[in-house]
């Protein structure tokens, strides 16, 4: 039988006013297991804590119950007291007789009776407590950033700045992401490349940052502080260490049919190419789908021109394994394909383009060298219609697009309209909108400038149909303010298409057991208070992977994620919460139910030799990783064989409390 001490606190008159503390202490003496019971004015004071420590020594107590204020207040205090006195800190239970008893009841008799029941319940629970020890796990001081857009770059720079190693894994041949494709950025209209490329160079030159481009993460195991990732570096057929980025091969390559992804496939590129002039790494890549040498074995022109001897057609994919302490997801976004929304005629008309295509058309490095020409006949458009909310804000049952607001379209449409009116004042610009959403510093002022200073025609209403008539696009829509249907003969139609997570996000989410919402955006650990962490420990979120964001917000979140990563990597060891789930291997039937409900991916299955009374065989059993488990207990209730239990809140303990309260 355990020896338990009960300590009833007066809390001045806070408890003693409505609870007869003396009677409680007296009543507890008769409870089986209790060998010592007393009361004191302020148990949390130094004198009170000394009283507890002395009693532990004197009566050789195995556990203590403190009947006092809420455990949320002083549980830790008393655990430390117990630990200092040589008792396991988890052999302490608190009976909450202040917030949940004395403060809510007026009748002293009633309050006293309830306090006794609560103290008895705590004793009943304590009788089943087992000493628990917090474990520790080491932290690998390296961070993996998945995605090399502005979000990934910013996070990597900040983490590296704190002195930790960072690997950026980027699926494309260069880092830079979507921001590299933009022409100008709102609301200041800086040139996007001018502010992004220095950061790219900084990342490349930082000795703590290792850029692994043209690669993807194939597999991740492990847990917070101890991840192990397998990364596939795709064959570039160009030796990264030798290539100087000279571009001499560009005119020699006989294949010219590859679509230029960087220019939204509006022009062609050779089979060997560098995505754009400021690419990092500034190293060529051979497109195996287009390369004549790789397809037929006859050509090899680029190899002949290359003075550095960098071309290697025999290069193979390379698999590398690396260990990390933290992983940042910065997988970014892509615009949706508006073709299924057939009223806009995007698939049929070359002059119906998306906003990102317009960015490339207006960019000096784009397919038209920065002159705004419409794709079909390369003529100057004189009347342009912008359509907002294409594929955003749709009812989920309509299958017409995304249910969310893509957030950035209102601002970039205002930007496009303004830039066009500025550069080509003879051009008429109309914008069909549902609402103009411009919350943000200097954002609404920016939009008003487009209207008031640049004379952009904003029409409240939506477009019902875009149809080609001769060389014009007839745009029919409603003008709700003047209650009219309008028809505009436009030369160019620009769709502000919704954005969606990059297609790679879903598989990465599954790999990391990081939860995602129905739109494939990563969910944060707490929508308000932990916005840059995934509920899975050690996984952090940066940029649009978590939800639609503009550049300033993305950078802010990227730095926030970096701060969280640094906080984790700064630790040598992680102290794990000992109140975690654990499975009884003898009872586990290997059904996988617990694995499915675990929100943290803390449960894995292993084949293990089970030895018990009359049993000696290899079985598939659940194993809980105590470093990952957060102790919610979802698995304990799901387990059909009752093998899973939660330390600190075991079935026995809670049942004992129930019994003590009901009897």
């Amino acid at each position: 039988m355990q020896k338990i001490g009960v300590f009833v606190c007066w809390c001045g008159s806070n408890i003693a006013g409505t609870v007869d503390v003396e009677a409680v202490a007296e009543a507890m003496k008769t409870v089986p297991g209790v060998v010592f019971s007393t009361h004191y004015q302020y148990m949390c004071s130094a004198a009170g804590q000394k009283l507890i420590a002395d009693a532990i020594h004197e009566h050789h107590l195995d556990g203590i119950v403190v009947a006092s204020c809420s455990p949320r207040m002083h549980e830790n205090t008393f655990r430390k007291t117990a630990e200092a006195a040589g008792l396991n800190p988890y052999m302490v239970e608190i009976a909450n007789i202040r917030e949940q008893c004395s403060w809510i009841h007026k009748d002293k008799e009633e309050g006293t009776a309830k306090a006794i029941v609560l103290a008895k319940a705590a004793v009943a629970k304590l009788l089943h407590n087992k000493p628990l020890t917090a474990g520790t796990s080491a932290v690998t001081k390296r961070c993996l950033v998945i995605g090399g857009g502005i979000a990934g770059i910013q996070t990597a720079l900040d983490v590296a700045d704190a002195g930790y190693e960072v690997d950026i894994v980027e699926q494309r041949p260069t880092i830079g992401g979507r921001m590299a494709q933009l022409d100008k950025t709102f609301p200041t209209l800086d040139c996007s490349a001018c502010i992004l490329t220095p950061k790219m160079v900084e990342a490349a030159q930082n000795e703590k940052i290792n850029i692994i481009s043209y690669a993807k993460v194939e597999k991740v195991d492990g847990f917070v502080g101890n991840f192990r990732a397998t990364i596939r570096k795709k064959a570039r057929c160009v030796d990264e260490t030798k290539c100087t980025g000279c571009s001499l091969y560009m005119n020699k390559c006989p294949s010219k049919k590859g679509k230029d992804e960087f220019n939204m496939e509006m022009n062609n590129r050779p089979a060997i190419y560098i995505p754009f002039a400021q690419a990092i790494p500034n190293v060529a890549v051979i497109d195996p789908e287009q390369c004549v040498k790789l397809k037929t074995g006859k050509c090899g022109l680029c190899q002949k021109v290359c003075t550095a001897g960098a071309i290697d057609y025999t290069q193979q994919d390379e698999l590398m394994e690396r260990e990390y302490g933290a992983i940042v997801v910065a997988t970014g976004f892509k615009p949706i394909d508006p073709s299924p929304l057939n009223e806009y005629g995007y698939a049929e008309n070359a002059d119906v383009i998306t906003s990102l295509e317009l960015e490339r058309l207006m960019n000096a490095a784009g397919p038209t060298k920065g002159t705004l020409l419409r794709p079909s006949d390369l003529k100057h458009p004189h009347e342009i219609v912008f359509i907002q909310c294409v594929g955003s804000r749709c009812d989920e049952n309509t299958k017409r697009g995304k249910p969310y607001c893509s957030k950035i379209c209102c601002m970039y449409t205002a930007k496009h309209a303004m830039l066009i009116r500025d550069k080509y004042p003879d051009t008429k610009v109309h914008v069909f909108y549902i609402d103009v959403r411009t919350p943000g510093k200097n954002f609404d002022e920016f939009y008003r400038r487009a209207v008031e200073q640049y004379g952009v025609d904003y029409i409240k209403g939506m477009v019902g149909k875009v149809a080609r008539e001769g060389d014009k696009l007839m745009v029919r829509g409603s003008d709700l303010i003047s209650n009219q249907q309008v028809e505009i003969a436009a030369d160019l139609v620009v769709l502000a298409t919704a954005i969606e997570p990059d297609p790679s996000a879903r598989s990465i989410g599954t790999m990391l057991t990081a939860s995602m919402d129905t739109n494939d955006f990563f969910t944060e650990a707490h929508a308000k208070l932990r916005p840059v962490e995934s509920p899975t420990a050690g996984i952090f979120l940066s940029g649009v992977a978590q939800g639609p964001k503009d550049v300033p917000e993305t950078v802010a979140q990227a730095s926030a994620a970096a701060a969280k990563v640094i906080g984790l990597l700064a630790k040598d060891h992680l102290v794990t919460n000992p109140c975690v789930a654990g499975s009884d291997e003898l009872l586990c039937n290997g059904c996988s139910q617990c694995e499915k409900v675990c929100p943290y991916g803390a449960i894995t299955y292993v084949d293990k030799e089970v030895r018990g009374p009359g049993v000696r065989e290899v079985r598939r059993v659940a194993q809980v990783n105590p470093a990952v488990c957060q102790g919610c207990g979802a698995c304990t209730v799901t387990c059909p064989s009752g093998a899973m239990d939660l330390k600190g809140f075991t079935n026995q303990q809670i049942m004992a409390e129930v019994d003590a309260i009901c009897l």
Partner: protein, 130 residues
């Protein structure tokens, strides 16, 4: 027949199965309507007027007969509101009140199945009446 705003609104909502509160007032229905200019009240107005209970105004307007039943607004509505069904429902209510709905329930059942849009039934009744 009862003519209270509540009764009329509830009837229109029931016949049409439309929830006008889902509307985000984007005006796509009116932007897409091929017979917009002929109508006194436009598709988007049907949605907001039904929501406000102004059914009688709609019933007394020729707009209910001018809907072509092309279903473009139903097809393209991003919020799944289906304004065209409201036009049909108001027209149906009007016919009922005029006691023109001479086809009995049994006759209608022969036409009605899940894939036949309400508009078609309405148009059919109008045609057969002549």
């Amino acid at each position: 027949m009862e003519n209270s705003v509540k009764f009329l609104t509830e009837t229109v909502l029931r016949i049409s199965g439309v929830d006008p509160r889902k509307c985000m007032k984007c005006g796509k229905c009116s932007g897409t309507c091929p017979n917009y200019d002929a109508m006194e009240y436009h598709p988007h107005q049907f949605v907001s007027m039904v929501e406000k209970g102004q059914i009688e105004k709609l019933m007394n307007s020729d707009s209910i007969y001018l809907c072509l039943g092309c279903m473009a607004c139903v097809e393209r509505c991003p919020r799944n509101v289906a304004p065209g069904k409201l036009v049909g429902a108001v027209a149906q209510l009007k016919l009922r009140q005029q006691d023109m709905n001479r086809k009995g329930g049994n006759d209608v059942a022969a036409f009605a199945d899940e894939i036949v849009p309400q508009q078609l039934l309405m148009a059919a009744m109008r045609k057969y009446r002549k």
